[in-house]
Subunit: 259 residues, 2 copies
């Protein structure tokens, strides 16, 4: 299996980097082929701007979705973006690994999503009409592939528990798991999350690394989060609201979108 | 009143820029003083890296929270970051304005948060012990100030409705409203959200601009989102889990953290 790890930590001697190395070693021991996009090491350009669309005229107004769609269709995106898109098409499984900063990914990784996820590749795919609103949420270019988050946080696990003050970790990660990974078609595995990593001693690191290795060994067999498919009948067309009869009693918020 | 607008759209002729100008004009007409941080125009450095901490030794390992805390305490952060922190301390109200890209803010704005929100300013404030876990979520350096999001999206309002396929907009914005704004103490106003902006005609823009102007006129009187305060007695110490007896029947997810 081909595995792409997109990695976003600024220090090569970090705990995150050590966890990444443990994951890569385990994946290779399992016979998989691994590529790593180490965004800081690549000096990844983080912001979407006019320079991303060389075919756009000098003084032309930048409408991002339109410019992205035109450039993707004409194979006119910049080389750094095309290289990442090629890796996404190559990979059977995508892993995004990052420290949780302000309850989501660091800017450099968000900038990877903003730039690599072109219109025509990750969104704007399929028919958009009164009968259908695209191939997304379980369909799309990456359908049949798997994806997974590997996240570290300095905070306590209890603070991210179902009643924890930060909000439940699965809800905090929903905009990524559902909105960035399930959207273009991935089957999304439950995340691997390591808590209180700032206080890790040797034993803490060993435990976390072993947990991550176990997840790498079971990448192909772990059941994905059961997100509903947009075009599977659960949502009304065209409003794409979940049919009321499918609401579990008492369910609300993001939980509605899991079967 | 002093108002800071942090603005994140790459094109000065965008609908977002026109909405920002409408907001600024209305605020000034109301007698407020307005400053705008136009991140793209400022060529804002987006990624946290070693260069953010000039006092860190060349080959020294970058532990972000520790480096941030040491540099903030020593007044040794970079000038661009210090200028933004000064604006935050000056402003009575903070507005973050951005197009919703992949269900959250564009990378350049996330990079503003990652870099400007130093340890000692926005987190790591107050006593951290078995009895208390900091001044945050309603307390902190920005307590007594107000904050608000102004967001545009190409998607349909229905897709962001309570049962909409993207997830409810209030839940999608929770990691920002609660985790980035309420965390360091802001009272957070309900967001202003404009949907389907890619299809706006003249009338659509006029309606959105008038809605935004109305929100600017009522900045001081609009009731904040009633997020619970961490240290107000609703959460158990030290786990910071919401006391079970405070759960409304059927409530779950982020909704628990509003009274």
């Amino acid at each position: 299996m081909n595995v792409l790890i997109v990695f976003a930590h600024p220090d090569p001697r970090s705990l995150n980097a050590a966890l990444r190395d443990a994951a890569v070693a385990e994946l290779e021991a399992q016979g998989h082929t691994v590529r790593v996009s180490d965004l800081y090491a690549m000096n990844w350009k983080t912001t979407v701007d006019h320079a991303d669309f060389p075919s756009l005229g000098e003084g032309e107004r930048l409408k991002v979705a339109a410019a992205s769609g035109a450039a993707f269709a004409a194979d006119a995106l910049t080389d750094d973006v095309k290289a990442e898109q090629e890796k996404l098409l190559w990979a059977d499984t995508l892993i995004l690994q990052f420290p949780l900063w302000w309850f989501t990914m660091p800017a450099i990784l968000k900038g990877w999503v903003d730039r690599v996820y072109a219109y025509g590749l990750a969104y704007g795919v399929g028919e958009h009409s009164d009968r259908r609103w695209g191939d997304r949420y379980g369909e799309g270019r990456f359908a049949g592939k798997r994806a997974m988050l590997v996240v570290t946080t300095g905070g306590w696990a209890e603070h991210y528990a179902p009643r924890g003050i930060n909000g439940p970790i699965d809800d905090l990660l929903f905009p990524i798991n559902h909105g960035i990974l399930h959207y273009p078609g991935y089957d999304v595995l439950p995340p691997f999350v390591a808590y209180r990593v700032d206080r890790f001693d040797e034993a803490g690191f060993t435990r976390a690394a072993e947990g991550l290795r176990e997840r790498m060994r079971t990448l192909e067999t772990t059941a994905p989060i059961p997100f509903r498919r947009q075009n599977g009948g659960d949502y009304a067309i065209p409003s794409l609201e979940l049919r009321p009869e499918l609401e579990a009693p008492g369910a609300s918020g993001f939980a509605l979108h899991r079967t």
